[in-house]
Symmetry: C2
Subunit: 137 residues, 2 copies
Amino acid sequence: MLSIGEMSRRSGVKVPTIRYYEQMGLIDAPERSAGNQRRYTRKELDRLTFIRHARDLGLSLEAIRELVRLSEHPDMPCAEAHVIATAHLAAIRERIARLKRLEKELTRIEAACHADHVGDCNIIQVLADHALCESEH
Amino acid sequence: MLSIGEMSRRSGVKVPTIRYYEQMGLIDAPERSAGNQRRYTRKELDRLTFIRHARDLGLSLEAIRELVRLSEHPDMPCAEAHVIATAHLAAIRERIARLKRLEKELTRIEAACHADHVGDCNIIQVLADHALCESEH
DNA sequence: CTTGAAGCTATAGCGGCTATAGATGTTACA
DNA sequence: TGTAACATCTATAGCCGCTATAGCTTCAAG
């Protein structure tokens, strides 16, 4: 039986976050010791690791809740899991594309300014005047 | 004199968000009409547009507060503005790099699964077992 | 048997909004 | 001038995904 601190160390999820996940219904309320402290099994550590991993990949708690539900019914079709992963992948790709546009824009703004004082500074100027932008954002 | 709704339409910042920015000290409290409604000047619209633009570029309210402060002192050296922009650029590049790793990982996970039901599904399996990952995250 | 770390619950705060409720103001048209 | 429709006002709560704090209890080592 693992204490919550042990779980935290092994999964890399902070103690208050574990309690938060329990509250949010991502993990079941575990057994308790005589003195009301949480006691976890190996299986519960596995699920926490699963959650940690999915969070690292940027999945929302909502999506993870769904995946956890799926993983508990191994005979269900896994199309749903694919839908979740694919949707997430699309979202990530969009974020990358958007960030790249921002990067380009900021690089341009940054490189363009050789002023000494704010009055002539392109950074401030370009921010103030959207018309000077190259891309849409 | 512009009403808050007019400001919203022209800047693309939602009405409650404008009030929020005022509360957060990003814009000054404007004049009021006889009936206590906000009335803005052209100059205040410009500042709001500035903020909108900076937000679009992903800058934090904190960073924007700083830039607004700078823009009000046009004789100040603009090195500080560069610091803010450069730091932000670095953050964006890091986020891009991280997202690309996630994209690769998720693509791999997704492509690897040709199962019919959850029991054999790689998506779930890979999430459950970090050891199956290729990259760190 | 004592001490100090770890655990407990409940609550508040973070950023950056967004939504709601219920009251009041403004404006266009009859 | 009246009225109806819409805009605005304040105050407050909620969103996500935690994180921090306070004040208490329990556990494990020496």
